[in-house]
């Protein structure tokens, strides 16, 4: 199991300091990141996914104590769940297949895998339709499918249920719970506190003043109204 150490990382956007923290993510299970709009959650997630590199500091990866180099193989083991607006202008099937192609999986195995995953997210009937024409709920499920298909150890999710109805959110949560069972490591950004309560093993709270707290979920939710969440809730 991979361990993340965001070591004194800083991130700037047009000279403005967006992010400045030192964080660890260890162990399988679901780690929720909470924080006000604009506090840098998406930015952090992109850094953890090795999509961007910090302007200061670095992301250190290790597996049971031994450092791992962030090579392609490592990166392919850490997946950021796509956002609906990032779906490919291709069929649902092709969208799921993409990640498998990247891993040079043979056509036949790809086919099997795609079908299996599409069933898991209940999109089999739409496998031929263009991904951009799906409904918001279907799109989000497709995004999950694309990540699951490649069986990564680490899955990063950025607000996977915002603007989904309770039913669709529930289905997505079911998929997430399934992934927890397969004891992968999940890092989830959400604004939905009750969702966080339902799913979180640990909670990382990011304040706007780049102050960060990290606690076991139970502890966080039983004590949140005290310490400085600067009026987040």
């Amino acid at each position: 199991m991979i361990t993340f150490h965001a070591k004194n990382i800083q991130r700037f956007h047009s000279k403005r300091l967006i992010l400045d923290l030192d964080l660890h993510f260890t162990n399988a299970g679901l780690h929720v990141i909470l924080g006000p709009n604009g506090c840098g959650k998406t930015t952090l997630l992109r850094l953890l996914a090795l999509l961007d590199t910090p302007d200061k500091g670095e992301i250190l990866l290790s597996a049971n104590g031994n450092a791992i180099t962030p090579n392609l193989k490592t990166r392919q083991n850490i997946v950021l769940v796509p956002r609906p607006d990032g779906l490919f202008n291709h069929s649902v099937h092709q969208n799921v297949e993409y990640g498998l192609k990247l891993r040079n999986i043979t056509k036949t195995h790809r086919l099997k895998r795609v079908q299996k995953v599409l069933e898991a997210v209940r999109l089999t009937h739409l496998s031929r339709s263009n991904a951009l024409r799906l409904s918001s709920g279907e799109k989000q499920r497709l995004c999950m499918a694309m990540a699951i298909a490649v069986k990564p150890d680490v899955i990063l999710l950025d607000e996977p249920t915002s603007s989904l109805d309770p039913h669709n959110s529930h289905q997505v949560e079911q998929i997430i719970i399934q992934l927890k069972k397969e004891n992968r490591m999940l890092i989830l950004v959400t604004h939905n506190i009750s969702q966080a309560r339902r799913l979180a093993d640990t909670v990382t709270f990011m304040g706007t003043d780049t102050k960060v707290s990290q606690n076991p979920a139970r502890e966080f939710f039983t004590t949140f109204d005290q310490d400085g969440l600067d009026g987040y809730l």
């Binding site: 996914a49 850490i78 607006d85 990032g86 490919f88 202008n89 694309m146 990540a147 490649v150 990063l156």
Partner: protein, 229 residues
């Protein structure tokens, strides 16, 4: 009189008049080759711009954009001075050859292809790129994904360039010389025949050129609509 001329013009078309066909095919050959090269260069450039932040990156795109407005006659003049026997590249003896016309059209088309594809990709590319990289694609693989995703926009860019250069007369006349059976294309022929008062041929060519560029633009429009909104 006019209707009469029109009829004659149509006859030329339906009877596939030899001169007419020769001119049309030369136009298409020159433009197709020019566009082919321009597409390779243009897309290559776009790819390059996306792969690594080159020094002066910030300048290249504005420059490309302004080059899309390069006046054909200025290019014609430039090429003339350069390709003329008394010019630096005179030894190549390219002036007044189809090659010279291809060069002109390539130079006119490349910035159009590059600028339009680049615009399309920067407009919609980032999320798609993130998707690919988030799933473990290399920078380059992600880029290919973006290009594949923007395929319609790119086709539209190519079509736009095609229409522009096929309909252009200034540069091809200056570097081609409108030599019969050699460098005479639709636009240069139309201008000349109109002067001579041979309106049958002029109008016949006009109709064909018009139809062709309408076809191209129809394709362009279709591509644009197939792309992501």
């Amino acid at each position: 009189m006019l209707t009469n001329t029109l009829n004659k013009a149509f006859l030329l078309i339906v009877h596939l008049d030899a001169d007419l066909l020769e001119i049309v095919f030369l136009s298409l050959r020159v433009t197709c080759v020019g566009i082919l090269i321009a597409t390779i260069l243009g897309l290559g450039l776009t790819l390059l711009l996306e792969i690594r932040k080159i020094p002066g990156q910030g300048l290249i795109i504005p420059i490309l954009n302004t080059l899309t407005g390069l006046p054909p006659v200025v290019l014609g003049l430039l090429l003339y001075v350069v390709l003329s026997r008394s010019g630096p590249l005179g030894f190549l003896g390219l002036l007044y050859t189809p090659t010279a016309m291809v060069i002109a059209q390539t130079i006119l088309a490349t910035p159009i292809v590059a600028a339009l594809s680049h615009a399309a990709i920067t407009a919609t590319g980032q999320p798609v790129r993130d998707t690919a990289r988030g799933l473990g694609a290399t920078e380059f693989q992600a880029l290919l994904a973006v290009f594949g995703d923007a395929r319609y926009a790119i086709m539209a860019a190519v079509a736009a360039a095609f229409g522009r250069v096929m309909a252009e007369v200034g540069a091809v006349l200056m570097v081609g010389g409108n030599i019969a059976h050699h460098t005479r294309v639709m636009t240069t022929a139309i201008a000349m025949e109109a002067d001579k008062g041979d309106f049958e041929l002029a109008i016949a060519l006009g109709i064909i050129l018009l139809s062709l560029s309408f076809l191209v633009n129809a394709a362009l429009y279709a591509f644009q609509r197939m792309g992501r909104k």
